[in-house]
Amino acid sequence: MKPHVNIVVLVDAVGALSDGTLHNGNLSLVDDGAFESRGQGTVDLCTIVVPGQVVQWTAIAVDVQTTAEISAITFLPPGGAAPERAPAWEGQSGGHENLDLKVWEGIVPAHLTRGVPYHYRLEVQMHEGSHSVLHLDSPALMCA
């Protein structure tokens, strides 16, 4: 078993901001897990993991002159509705938040039910402003 699973979040920031969505091919998720993850290259990636593995998410912008950073990853209640809160850009008054400082990395806990996808909300921020944050609820982690 690989101790580390990397999930790459590939973002076409110009496309996503123009469309106002991360769908329509504007975002692609790929992982390097050892098991048969489903939906590689799509927004419906279901990464197969085992407890104790470290999962790390990294955002990459297709165009090197644009910014695309993960601003939040929130796990959704299994089978339940997504949280009401709409993702929003939290404009910093005075200061500037450098999202590049954040490392999206964590250990898969032991209490997960096997075979059940745990969906998460992935929020991506592109540059800044009130329309800069877009999100997806479709990707998931699932215990083998």
């Binding site: 470290v54 912008a61 090197v64 910014t67 990853i73 450098n98 999202l99 590049d100 964590g106 250990i107």
Partner: protein
């Protein structure tokens, strides 16, 4: 942030040539205002270079800067690269057609052929010479900003874009940034541009000097020539460095917050 930063160097060429200085005639912009660049649109731009380091102290990010010179009141850089050559060719073509007309009328004693040819000669436009060994632009005829040929001295003409010829100064001397000129298929920069990678492991504000060459149209013996005028302007980078931290816990590695 794995992002390349663009720094636009906008020059008011006509005023800079008149004053023989870039002071007050240059406007700088970059795309990192949201991370703390200051002085956008002025000559006092301080470009932020956000650096990050891992928990063990090693450098996590490197920044890349790209300088793109632009000029006020010039033919836009988005027109096709063959624009100058196309316009020059078009005026030559028109002149040839009119010469044929003059030739047809040559037999008519009421037509002043010499005056017509003189008028044609003026309408063909002026072809400026390039200085020897200079970095003068490879353009033929002198055009005004609307794309029409310039025929005589004293007419309004379009300056070629400014050319960055070197980047020096404190930031380079102290080896905080490593500038070099690169070739590019990018039409905006006309094939060449200056870029630098920045060592973000050494926070601080460092000044640097851009050496910019402008071109002035000089008439000698009724012949125009582009003469290079070398000027400099200053700017600065501000390198900051912050630690990377786990986004879920705010500190070190922990369990994923899964329900």
């Amino acid at each position: 942030m794995a992002q390349q930063q663009g720094i636009i160097v906008l020059v008011d060429i006509a005023n800079a040539l008149q004053a023989r200085t870039l002071t007050g005639n240059v406007y700088l912009f970059d795309n990192m205002a949201f991370l703390g660049s200051t002085g956008q649109g002025t000559a006092d731009l301080v470009t932020i270079c956000p650096g990050t380091y891992w928990a063990d102290g090693s450098q996590a990010t490197e920044q890349v800067l790209n300088w793109l010179p632009a000029s006020l009141g010039s033919i836009p850089p988005t027109v096709p690269r063959s624009y100058h050559a196309d316009r020059a060719q078009a005026t030559d073509q028109e002149a040839l057609e009119e010469i044929a007309g003059v030739a047809d009328r040559a037999g008519d004693p009421s037509v002043d052929t010499a005056a017509e040819l003189e008028g044609l000669r003026r309408r063909v436009g002026a072809r400026a010479r390039r200085p020897r060994g200079g970095r003068a632009p490879a353009i033929g005829k002198v055009l005004d900003v609307t794309g029409n040929v310039v025929t005589g001295e004293g007419q309004a003409y379009n300056h070629p874009n400014p050319v960055i010829t070197d980047i020096t100064g404190q930031a380079v001397d102290e080896k905080v940034m490593y500038p070099a000129q690169y070739g590019s298929p990018d039409m905006v920069s006309d094939g060449w541009y200056w870029a630098a990678s920045v060592d973000t492991a050494r926070p601080g504000t460092y000044r640097y000097t851009m050496h910019i060459q402008l071109h002035e149209l000089v008439w000698r013996n009724d012949e125009p020539a582009w003469e290079p005028v070398d000027l400099t302007c200053e700017s600065a980078i501000k390198v900051i460095s912050d630690p990377k931290r786990n986004a879920f816990t705010g500190a070190g590695l922990g369990m994923l917050p899964m329900p």
